[in-house]
Amino acid sequence: MNIFRSSFTGSVHHRFSGVLRCAISLFAVVFTTGLSGCSNETEVHPKQEAVSVDVPLSYAKGFSLYDHEGFKTLRVIVDLDGRQDTLRYLLIPKESPLPDGFDEHVVVRTPVERVALFSTTQVGYIDLLGCADRIIGIARPDYVNTPSLRERIEKGAVSEIGMPFSPNVEEILELNPEMIVTTAFPAARQTDYKALVMAGIPVVVVAEWLEESPLGRAEWLKLYAALLGREEVAVEKFADIEHSYHALKALTDTLSHRPSVVTGMPFKDAWFVPGGNSYVACFLRDAGADYHWKNRAKTGSIKMDIEAIYPVALEAEFWLNPGTVQSLDELLAKDIRFRDFFAVRSGKVYNNNRLLNPAGGNAYWELGAVRPDRVLGDLIRILHPDLFPERGNGDDSLTFYRHIQ
């Protein structure tokens, strides 16, 4: 079983949930000040701020970019379990001398040409910017779906650099990337990354999964763009995604029938549902669904008792993202009680694992974060088939979703 793979656990970035966070935060290592010179006060340097311009962001709340003359600064705000850390980076062209007054910042020389990654989600962003060929190292390369990178992995042009929880520091030092991107989550052993920072390899921490809206997640594209020197491309691509997302959302704005949905996959009697403030709840709202826990103000996922969800699940018109299941038989083998759900009886169960590679890497995590418009398109086609009369009975029109039957 795999309740957390479903993004509709709302849980967090791909596949981190409340349980893991609770369990691991017991001995979680928080971002040490040594990693990035981060500190909790947001004091500003009046002199530099005077000449810096904010790079406009419409949705993302987790990072901010400032354009100074000749270089940029980046702030990433990581809010985990109520503990907020601000990480500061100085993005400066390779030949420029370092300015004074930025000792607190980790220096990244741009445009970055050699990147090492710790999550396939990051591949989605970098590939959209047309820079997949700059990826020289990745954790778990077998999970990658993106064709251009897949090809380079087969050729042996990409090194395996350990596991998300445990970077292989020696391997990385030998590879000598100009930047490492890692996702912020409580279980990461920051000490390993600290060794890399001390060795002069900047570690950029991202946390797109903490955003409250799908477009907020997608807008992290602009962070990657600033690092890779692809700002114009990012602005253009993001505007397209935004436009296409809003056009789809407009289809459902005036609908009177908003079908009820239940999401996720329980394990025995624990069931995680996305909080009302999570980007997943936002997806459901924008797709014209009626989500039962929409008013539970929480960004991550909420662990609930199966009994509390059962009455809702019995009646819900659709069941989305039931873990990793690929067929109805598999679903019923997990728990025979599912046969009573209306969505199961009426054949309205859909899962986001249409695009799996042989190793089980799901393209939904790779492309879905940066292309929320395509995820929303899938959801609207599933929930409101009458809006797309040309759609056949097959799954052909869906990108990430499969009909569970």
Binding site: A270, K303, A333
Partner: protein, 363 residues
């Protein structure tokens, strides 16, 4: 009340029917029935008691959701609590007697660790031959997969321990070996965890929290049958266990085959602890705490009473833990393992403080 027979002095170990101790067992049974109903009555969804009783006695209810919740969620869970509580307590009692060690429990032989190894193999060791997908092609799906894996894991460790038990006469050595085998499996699991994906670790973590829910239909029958067999063996071994308390040398001088008793007890424990771990995850503490609690309630070390009472006390404690874990009225639950340890530890401390001397039960 009928004739009172003092069991302690009865030379041929007769089975008295109506002693105060038997009345106490009857009382425990009534208490268990009460908590069983209470467990059915409380939960996230508020259902009036009248409706619960109607549903339990087959009259049904006009509210379809309520009927399904009681039938498919609460009744199986309460039955699982009773079975698991009884099984873990009975196996803990036997382990404590066999090893004459007050800290022994069903997990000392590494049986729970073996079960965990089986589950970890399915959930964590991806890419290995034990890839869940490969097993799935054998026709095992969903929830059975984990049960079968944990049973095989427990059996694997058990075979090792049994092999050693046949060769080595000393129970203390066996105890140490069991703990070491358990440590080896735990370290293998932690290596797998280190190299696993976050979501796989999560699955495994949730399993380790233990769960009484989700044992339904055919699984509940299988669990009940296996535990039933294990309990029958345990009850049959009661007299031998009484002799074992006096020491192995004494038992041998009475002409008892200690090897036979040892193997019987290990087999019963594996059936009991292995099956419960497979279906419910590793549930701790009940197995260690309940035998002490029962000894202090009954004030006896006679296994003919201790065995049934431990089962009942274990079932009651498990029901109470489940009621607490459900946090009635709230939408969330606590992991059952945390609750058993929270309740179990103070019990053990209290018993030790009260008795000052555990030797009395073990010598």
């Amino acid at each position: 009340m009928g004739i009172k027979v003092d069991s302690q002095t009865s030379p041929e170990h007769s089975w008295p029917l109506l002693s105060p101790k038997n009345s106490l067992i009857a009382l425990l049974f009534v208490i268990m029935a009460f908590f069983f109903m209470l467990d059915l009555a409380l939960g996230s969804v508020k259902i009036p008691l009248g409706n619960i009783i109607d549903i339990v006695f087959g009259k049904g209810s006009e509210n379809e959701a309520w009927e399904k919740i009681v039938t498919y969620i609460r009744i199986p869970k309460a039955l699982t609590a009773v079975i698991a509580g009884a099984a873990l307590s009975a196996s803990g009692l036997q382990m404590q007697t066999l090893f004459r060690n007050p800290l022994a429990g069903p997990s000392v032989l590494g049986i729970s660790a073996g079960a965990s190894l089986g589950v970890a193999m399915v959930m964590l060791a991806s890419g290995a031959a034990a890839n869940a997908f490969a097993i799935r092609q054998l026709g095992l799906g969903g929830s059975w997969l984990i049960v079968v894996a944990s049973t095989l894991g427990a059996a694997f460790v058990l075979l090792i321990v049994l092999g050693i038990a046949v060769r080595i006469k000393d129970n203390i050595v066996l105890l140490i070996v069991g703990i070491m085998v358990g440590n080896i499996t735990i370290s293998i699991i932690s290596i797998w965890q280190y190299f696993s994906e976050p979501e796989q670790i999560q699955d495994y973590l949730i399993w380790t929290f233990g769960s009484l829910g989700g044992v339904l239909g055919s699984q509940l029958y299988v669990l009940a049958i296996v535990v039933g067999i294990g309990l029958m063996i345990s009850f049959a071994a009661s007299k031998s266990l009484n002799v074992m308390l006096l020491g192995e040398n004494y038992a041998r001088s009475l002409g008892m085959s200690t090897l036979y008793v040892r193997i019987t007890v290990i087999a019963a424990t594996s059936l009991l602890a292995g099956s419960v771990t497979g279906f419910c995850g590793p549930i701790g503490f009940i197995g260690i705490a309940v035998p002490h609690l029962t000894r202090s309630i009954l004030n006896t070390s006679d296994h003919r009473f201790l065995m049934p009472s431990s089962c009942l006390v274990g079932a009651i404690l498990m029901l109470v833990c489940d009621i607490i874990a459900q946090m009635p009225g709230s939408q969330t639950t606590l992991p059952i393992n945390a609750v058993t340890a929270l309740i179990g530890s103070p019990v053990v401390i209290w018993v030790i403080m009260k008795n000052r001397n555990l030797k009395s039960s073990f010598a």
